[in-house]
């Protein structure tokens, strides 16, 4: 029999306990910082005249980049919704990435497109542009038709042709809150060193949408979508705000972020060779700007909102998480030289190591931890009382953080006004600990295998989607989307 003191299983279990304690302490700290920041943000809101920003012709003009690939069923509604944004100086630029489902025909039909001359304003290598179009119905709409090259390539084409100094990258199937742009632009105007700003992404499933406008917010019936709502809230309100406060924000969701165009052009735009181009871009901005001794303020705010539809089938959700995880790992591998380097400030010494240890390798440690723990329990190497105590502690930590997030949401934003919805989310915060979190850890661990096998090169991710008008309807057609990542 192996002596207990040197038994690798027992050793591994203790390592797991230590890992668990550290990660939960970090989560708690992030939640506390997030809470303080939200409080501060909400208190300051009356000082900020966002209406003035949205109606002033002197506000920084924004080009909204809408990369789209096979979005024919939703593209017209999405574009109309964007054109209705409350913002004085706005250009909506749809970049059709060689769609094969008639997206371009739909755009031509709905917006009376006419081919025009448009000169690129930046030099970034992309797939060839076929034609540029202006709309006969909406002066603020530009459509660019290009050869297929992936989402990052489509965004880069948008970056080349964008007329305005700020570019907002969003997914073709997301919907912006009318005041979202002015809230983020405020930051660029108040602090000129800001190079990128992200807003919260919320899940639209269950809510009522009419003609591309959100009429009422409700939680969905689907338990899977509710589980994702809870995850998103925790990640955005608990994590991302804190990272932003600490000046270490590494991710701005591909679904909604605003960037200074010149800063993006300087770093070469989005990288078409990675699956996580949104996160990779943010880390590259940190890196390149610090290498050049330039200021780099990248921030996140909790109430410029973008609404997106969450996957409704487990298969799609697992595929999505696999993809996000690969994106994260690719990003960290590419920028591994930043790890621990003081030259990159807290981003190099704290954020990158944290993401490497807890977000990238974390799921693998978690999954192997479950297995080893069960084996040790079966072999009698860990006592049942100790196992139950660990389980209880783990559950309590998770619940405290989830409930604190819900409390933040209710105190500050009250996006889910009914008691029924709140009750549903409380219930979800409990049940996600029994199966869902473990399943997601397995899904994310699978990314190591996918990456090892060299599968899943960069393409448009696909997803079964019901469309905004019928967010609860059964999945009907595959609509491509790079969804948002909600990691801490």
């Amino acid at each position: 029999m192996i002596p207990e003191a040197v038994n690798p299983l027992v050793f591994y279990n203790w390592m797991m306990v230590a890992y668990f304690l550290v990660i939960n302490v970090v989560y708690t700290l992030l939640a506390i910082i997030g809470w303080r920041e939200i409080k501060k943000y909400v208190r300051r809101r009356p000082l900020r005249d966002y209406r003035q920003v949205s109606r002033s012709p002197l506000s920084m003009p924004v080009t909204i980049l809408v990369p789209s690939y096979n979005e024919a069923p939703v593209i017209a509604d999405s574009v109309r919704s964007l054109l209705r944004s409350r913002y004085a100086q706005l250009e909506v630029m749809v970049i059709n990435d060689g769609s094969s489902d008639g997206t371009m025909d739909e755009l031509k039909k709905e917006f009376a497109l006419t081919q025009i001359e448009r000169i690129p304003r930046a030099s970034i290598e992309t797939q060839p542009v076929i034609a540029c179009y202006a709309s006969g119905t909406d002066a603020g709409l530009v459509v660019i038709d290009k050869a297929n090259g992936g989402k990052a390539d489509a965004l880069n084409v948008g970056l080349r042709f964008a007329a305005f100094p700020l570019v907002c990258a969003i997914d073709a199937d997301t919907m912006l809150d009318p005041a979202a742009l002015s809230r983020l632009v405020w930051e660029f105007q108040a602090s000129p060193e800001t190079v990128a700003a992200g807003g919260i992404v919320r899940i639209v499933n269950g809510s009522r949408v009419e003609n591309g406008k959100l009429v009422s917010v409700k939680t969905p019936k689907s338990i899977l979508a509710n589980l994702q709502i809870m995850e998103y809230l925790r990640a955005f309100l608990g994590g991302r705000i804190a990272w932003s406060r600490l000046g270490m924000l590494l991710i701005i969701s591909g679904a909604f972020g605003i960037f200074r165009r010149d800063a993006l052009v300087e770093v070469g735009g989005w990288d078409p060779t990675t699956v996580g181009e949104d996160a990779e871009l943010v880390l590259r901005l940190h890196r390149v700007r610090r290498d050049r001794g330039q200021k780099c303020r990248i921030v996140f705010f909790p109430d410029p909102i973008c609404w997106t539809e969450a996957p409704q089938s487990l298969k799609t959700l697992i595929r999505q998480r696999d993809r996000w995880q690969r994106g994260l790992m690719e990003m960290l591998i590419r920028h591994r030289s930043m790890l621990g380097r003081r030259k990159y400030g807290h981003v190099g010494t704290l954020a990158v190591p944290y993401f490497a240890l807890f977000e990238a390798i974390g799921p693998l440690i978690e999954v192997t931890g479950y297995l080893v723990f069960l084996i040790a329990l079966a072999l009698g190497l860990v006592s049942w009382p100790l196992a139950l105590a660990f389980l209880g502690l783990s559950l309590s930590f998770g619940l405290v953080i989830s409930f604190a997030t819900l409390l933040m949401e209710e105190r500050a934003f009250q996006r889910y006004p009914s008691w029924g919805d709140l009750g549903k989310l409380v219930l979800v915060a409990v049940i996600e600990n029994f199966g869902y979190r473990q399943m997601m850890a397995v899904a994310r661990s699978r990314a190591f295998w996918t990456m090892w096998r060299g599968r899943g090169k960069h393409t448009w991710g696909d997803m079964d989607r019901a469309g905004f008008g019928s967010a609860e309807a059964p999945a009907t057609q595959p609509i491509d989307s790079e969804l948002v990542r909600p990691e801490a």
């Binding site: 208190r43 300051r44 809101r45 009356p46 000082l47 900020r48 005249d49 003035q52 002033s56 012709p57 002197l58 506000s59 009376a112 497109l113 006419t114 081919q115 025009i116 001359e117 000169i119 202006a134 709309s135 006969g136 119905t137 105007q189 108040a190 602090s191 000129p192």
Partner: protein
């Protein structure tokens, strides 16, 4: 309480009640005291509330807070002064513009209102600083005032680049068309493409397509704009095409003629513009 009062647009009744409270309990003194406190939110809200109560000391408080260390407080002070809307408030905003204590655009958009025009015109007349003059001209572009016409015409031809661009743009919103369009047409020959582009755009804004003040003005302008369809700068070409589309029949005739232009750029722009006009007509 401050936050609630500052966030909503108070009714006359609320303002009356606040003034009553002020008389009885020195509310404004208390707010003035708060405006010197350590808490930035309280400082900013005090300024906003004093402005909404329409009290004289609101101007002094907001003027002081324009130099506050917190950017949000400075912006709140700027909003407060715009709400007060007096000559003294305008002078404070112009002074801040001079000192550069906050982004010029935020001050310009507040000064771009009829109540501020008197002080803006005075400052424009007195100032020798081209940066300040440019900002003031931009403010006039948001609240056009024909008293500024001579000064704008002067700046459009003789100012520095930024001044010329701003003056041309402001002339486009000031009018009248028969007096301003010839000036803008001569600016189409300016050496700076930004001036040419703005001049083309301003012509498009000024000429009413349905009922031009004087048809000969729009015909002459359309001829000049057609020439710009072949400009060496893309921005000028694009603005000239947009202007020709927006000025009505005279523009359309020039676009049709330009289909046979020997210059390839002109032909392309004309073809695009006519297609867009057709698409718009079809879309209703």
């Amino acid at each position: 309480m401050l936050a609630v009062l500052a966030e909503v647009a108070p009714s006359q009744r609320t303002i009356h009640a606040l003034r009553e409270t002020d008389r009885n309990q020195q509310l404004s003194e208390s707010l003035e005291y708060q405006s010197c406190g350590e808490e930035p939110v309280a400082r900013g809200l005090s300024a906003l509330l004093l402005a909404r109560m329409g009290l004289d000391r609101g101007t002094q408080v907001a003027d002081r807070l324009l130099r506050d260390e917190d950017p949000d407080v400075r912006l709140a002070a700027c909003s407060a002064l715009a709400e007060i809307g007096t000559n003294a408030a305008a002078r404070s905003l112009i002074q801040s513009l001079r000192e550069g204590t906050m982004p010029a655009e935020r001050l310009i958009e507040r000064l771009g209102a009829p109540w501020a025009n008197h002080e803006v015109l005075l400052a424009l007349d007195e100032s020798g600083d081209p940066r300040l003059r440019t900002a003031l001209v931009r403010a006039l572009g948001l609240a056009p005032d024909r008293r500024a016409l001579d000064m704008l015409i002067h700046l459009s031809g003789r100012g520095e680049d930024e001044e010329r661009v701003s003056a041309i743009r402001t002339l486009g919103s000031t009018g009248p068309a028969d007096k301003v369009v010839p000036i803008l047409c001569s600016a189409l020959d300016d050496g700076n493409p930004a001036v040419r582009a703005q001049a083309a755009r301003a012509i498009g804004t000024l000429i009413e397509p349905a009922s031009p003040d004087r048809p000969e003005t729009s015909i002459a302008a359309a001829e000049q704009l057609r020439r710009c369809l072949g400009d060496e700068d893309w921005w000028v070409r694009a603005n000239a095409a947009t202007a020709l589309r927006s000025i009505g029949k005279a523009g359309e005739h020039q676009l049709i003629d330009a289909l046979d232009d020997p210059d390839e750029f002109s032909r392309d722009r004309a073809r695009e513009s006519l297609a867009l006009l057709k698409a718009r007509a079809t879309a209703g």
